[in-house]
C-alpha cells in the first residue's frame, strides 16, 4: 500500500517532464537524413569489428604538450604512424580514460581523441588505440588552423571554412578508389572538436562536396592516392 502511495507521488512528479515542442520535427529531420544510409559492418584495415559507418571520433583542439606525456604518466604507450593534418606523423598514444587517448607527435604537439562504436542496442564500446588509428574515419581529419577549418585526407588538405552549414555540419565525398568509406559526415564542428562518420554510400538527399585529387592541394611530392603505405598503420607497443 505504501509502495503504491510512493509510486503515485513519483509518477505525478515525473509526469512534469515532457519532450520539447520541436522534438518531433527534429526527429523527422534526422530520419530523413539517415534514410538510405548503409550501416554495415566493414573491415577497416583489418579491424573488422569496427563498423566504419558508426564510428564516432571526437577530437579536441591542439594544445602544447609541455614536457610530460605518455610514459611519464604510466600505462601502456603505443606508437602509431598515421595521417594527421595532411602529413604522415608518428605519434605516441596514451589512454587517459576509458575511451579517450592523448596523441603526442614528434614535435610535442598534443591532441585528445575519443572514439567508440555502438551496437544495435546502443551499447558503447571504446576503441583501442589501434582501432582508433585504423578507424580514424579512413585518414580524414579536421582541424582549425589560424581561424580556418582545414579538412585533411591522407596527404591532401583543403580549406572548408565556408562550406560548413549553419548547423555546423560538413558533408564531403573523397573519390579514393583505395577506400570505400569516404562519404564523410562531420558534425558538431565548433573549433573545439567535431564528430565524424564515414560511410560507404551517400545519405539520400544530402549534397556532398565532391573532392578528387585535382581539386585539392597536394602536400609535398607524394602522389595523391598512389602510396600504398598510406593506408597502413604501424603499431609498436611498449610499456
Amino acid at each position: 500500500m505504501n509502495n503504491e502511495k510512493n509510486k503515485e507521488r513519483y509518477i505525478r512528479s515525473f509526469n512534469s517532464l515532457h519532450l520539447s515542442e520541436g522534438f518531433r520535427e527534429r526527429l523527422d529531420a534526422s530520419l530523413d537524413e539517415r534514410k538510405g544510409k548503409i550501416m554495415e559492418m566493414t573491415s577497416v584495415n583489418g579491424f573488422s569489428r569496427v563498423a566504419a559507418a558508426v564510428i564516432t571520433i571526437c577530437a579536441v583542439a591542439f594544445g602544447s604538450a609541455g614536457v610530460c606525456y605518455a610514459g611519464d604518466v604510466g600505462g601502456i604507450r603505443t606508437t602509431l604512424k598515421l595521417w594527421l593534418s595532411g602529413t604522415k606523423q608518428t605519434v605516441e598514444v596514451e589512454r587517459i580514460d576509458d575511451e579517450t587517448y592523448k596523441l603526442v607527435n614528434e614535435d610535442g604537439e598534443e591532441r585528445n581523441l575519443s572514439g567508440f562504436y555502438m551496437d544495435d542496442e546502443g551499447n558503447r564500446t571504446a576503441l583501442s588505440a589501434e582501432e582508433m588509428a585504423a578507424g580514424m574515419n579512413n585518414d580524414m581529419f579536421l582541424e582549425e588552423v589560424d581561424g580556418r577549418m582545414i579538412f585533411a585526407y591522407k596527404n591532401l588538405t583543403m580549406d572548408v571554412t565556408d562550406r560548413i552549414d549553419d548547423s555546423g555540419r560538413l558533408y564531403i565525398h573523397v573519390d579514393d578508389p583505395a577506400n570505400p568509406n569516404t562519404y564523410f559526415t562531420i558534425s558538431n564542428i565548433d573549433g573545439n572538436g567535431y564528430e565524424s562518420q564515414a560511410d560507404s554510400a551517400p545519405a539520400s538527399g544530402v549534397e556532398y562536396i565532391e573532392v578528387d585529387s585535382a581539386d585539392i592541394v597536394i602536400d609535398g611530392s607524394e602522389p595523391p592516392f598512389g602510396d600504398d603505405d598510406s593506408v597502413q598503420t604501424t603499431v609498436v607497443t611498449s610499456d
Binding site: 505504501n2 509502495n3 502511495k5 510512493n6 509510486k7 507521488r9 513519483y10 509518477i11 505525478r12 512528479s13 515525473f14 509526469n15 512534469s16 517532464l17 515532457h18 519532450l19 520539447s20 522534438f23 518531433r24 527534429r26 526527429l27 534526422s30 530520419l31 539517415r34 550501416m39 571526437c58 579536441v60 576509458d98 575511451e99 579517450t100 575519443s114 567508440f116 555502438m118 544495435d120 542496442e121 546502443g122 551499447n123 558503447r124 558538431n188 565548433d190 573545439n192 572538436g193
Partner: protein, 158 residues
C-alpha cells in the same frame, strides 16, 4: 509484432525522456538520447514479441544512449539544470521537491528507483534491462529508498 513508429513516438516519447533525464539531468542531452533510441528503432529490423518487450528494449537503448551522451565532452550551450527545473510545471510543490531529491541521488540509484516507481518494473525486470544482477538492483533500490525516506516528508516506509 508490427510496429507503428508514429504511435510509439507518441506513446513512449515522454517516458523515454523521463528515463534519459535521470541519467543526463540535462534536457537537450536527454532529448538527444530519446532521438537516438527512436532512430535505432526506426532502422532496426528487430522482431519484438510484445509491446512489453519493445518498451523494455526502448528503455535499455535510451539509457545506454543517455550514458554515452553524458560521457561526451563537447562544450555545447546548455540549459542549466536549475533553469530547466524552474521552467517545469508541477501539480504540487512537493512534486518538485520529490524530483529534486530523486535527481540528487547517485546515478546508480536514480535509474533503478525510476524504473521501479515510474515504470513499475520488478527487480528481475530492472536487472534485465540494465544488465545487472538482481542483488545489485535490490541493494540500489534499498539504498535509494533509504535516502529518499530521510529527505522526503511523507515518503512512506515500504
Amino acid at each position: 509484432m508490427k510496429i507503428d513508429f508514429d504511435k510509439i513516438c507518441e506513446k513512449y516519447g515522454n517516458r523515454l525522456y523521463a528515463a534519459a533525464f535521470q541519467i543526463c539531468r540535462q534536457p537537450q542531452d536527454a532529448e538527444d538520447a530519446v532521438q537516438e533510441a527512436l532512430l535505432r528503432l526506426y532502422h532496426s529490423d528487430k522482431d519484438f514479441d510484445s509491446e512489453e518487450h519493445l518498451k523494455a528494449w526502448m528503455i535499455r537503448v535510451t539509457v545506454n544512449a543517455a550514458k554515452s551522451i553524458r560521457r561526451l565532452f563537447w562544450n555545447r550551450n546548455r540549459t542549466s539544470f536549475e533553469d530547466y527545473m524552474d521552467s517545469l510545471t508541477f501539480e504540487e510543490p512537493s512534486d518538485r521537491t520529490l524530483m529534486d531529491e530523486v535527481l540528487a541521488l547517485p546515478e546508480k540509484y536514480r535509474i533503478v528507483i525510476h524504473l521501479h516507481y515510474y515504470e513499475g518494473y520488478k527487480v528481475s525486470e530492472i536487472a534485465d534491462i540494465l544488465e545487472l544482477s538482481e542483488n545489485t538492483v535490490k541493494t540500489r533500490l534499498f539504498n535509494g529508498r533509504k535516502i529518499l525516506k530521510t529527505r522526503l516528508e511523507g515518503w512512506e516506509d515500504e
